[in-house]
């Protein structure tokens, strides 16, 4: 399977703390994307990082990509209760149109 792997599977932190989630993959990719899913809903795109980029920021989100290690991380700074959700990494496999996802990290922010 080309599915990615995310770590940790679940993360529980206090409001105001930073949350870090990691994603690893096995193939060469065109880009990597992070998505958020609120319970029982569809996924919403957060941020995209291309294979020739190493770091990207969007508001309280910081994404890094290390293609030599085939891994990415998502950092959410100054977490809020509203950040409670599942987070998924998705990646475009190089040379294909496929968009494949990891297994997700369930993030809980405690007030």
């Amino acid at each position: 399977s080309q599915q990615g792997e995310e770590d940790p599977q679940a993360l529980s932190i206090q409001e105001g703390e930073n949350a870090t989630m990691n994603c690893s993959y096995k193939t060469s990719i065109n880009n990597l994307q992070w998505y958020r899913q609120n319970s029982g809903r569809g996924l919403v795109h957060l941020i995209l990082i291309r294979s020739n980029e190493r770091e990207k920021h969007s508001g309280r989100l910081r994404v890094t990509l290390d293609t030599s290690k085939k891994s990415s991380s998502l950092l959410i700074t100054a977490s809020r209760a509203a950040d409670t959700a599942s987070y998924f990494c998705g990646f475009r496999i190089q040379g294909a149109q496929k968009l494949v996802f990891g297994q997700g990290t369930r993030l809980t922010i405690n007030p």
């Binding site: 399977s1 569809g42 968009l99 494949v100 297994q103």
Partner: protein
């Protein structure tokens, strides 16, 4: 805003029935995808389509087929539903080959129960 609409939010079907899950997008996207989501397994790609009448198998195509007769519509077909196909099904669409805008837009999901 891009809208991806799945025809049903909840569906209950009997074992052996033929089931159609419909997905429509309104942004002229080339790519469309069907995933199933199960606890602990994340999103697994069933099929995707990169153009009208073009399709490719994902990681778990067994027991499923798809149809894309028009660009905006991508249908997932369960030929003979089984209880192990009880799951959340998610449809998504995206632009095709460009570097920009390859984010995917998702529908709200269809929770299918096969009894």
């Amino acid at each position: 805003d891009v809208k991806v609409t799945q025809s049903s939010r909840y569906l209950v079907k009997r074992t052996g029935e033929k089931v159609f899950l419909e997905c429509v997008q309104d942004m002229d996207h080339e790519n469309m995808f069907w995933y199933r989501q199960d606890p602990g397994l994340g999103l697994r790609l069933i099929y995707f389509s990169y153009d009208v009448k073009m399709k490719e198998k994902g990681d778990i195509p067994e027991g499923y087929s798809v149809s894309r007769e028009k660009k905006e519509r991508f249908s997932l077909i369960l030929e003979s539903a089984s209880t192990n196909q009880t799951s959340m099904y998610l449809c998504a669409s995206s632009l095709g080959t460009s570097w920009e805008g390859t984010e995917a837009f998702f529908g709200q999901g269809t929770r299918l129960t096969v009894v």
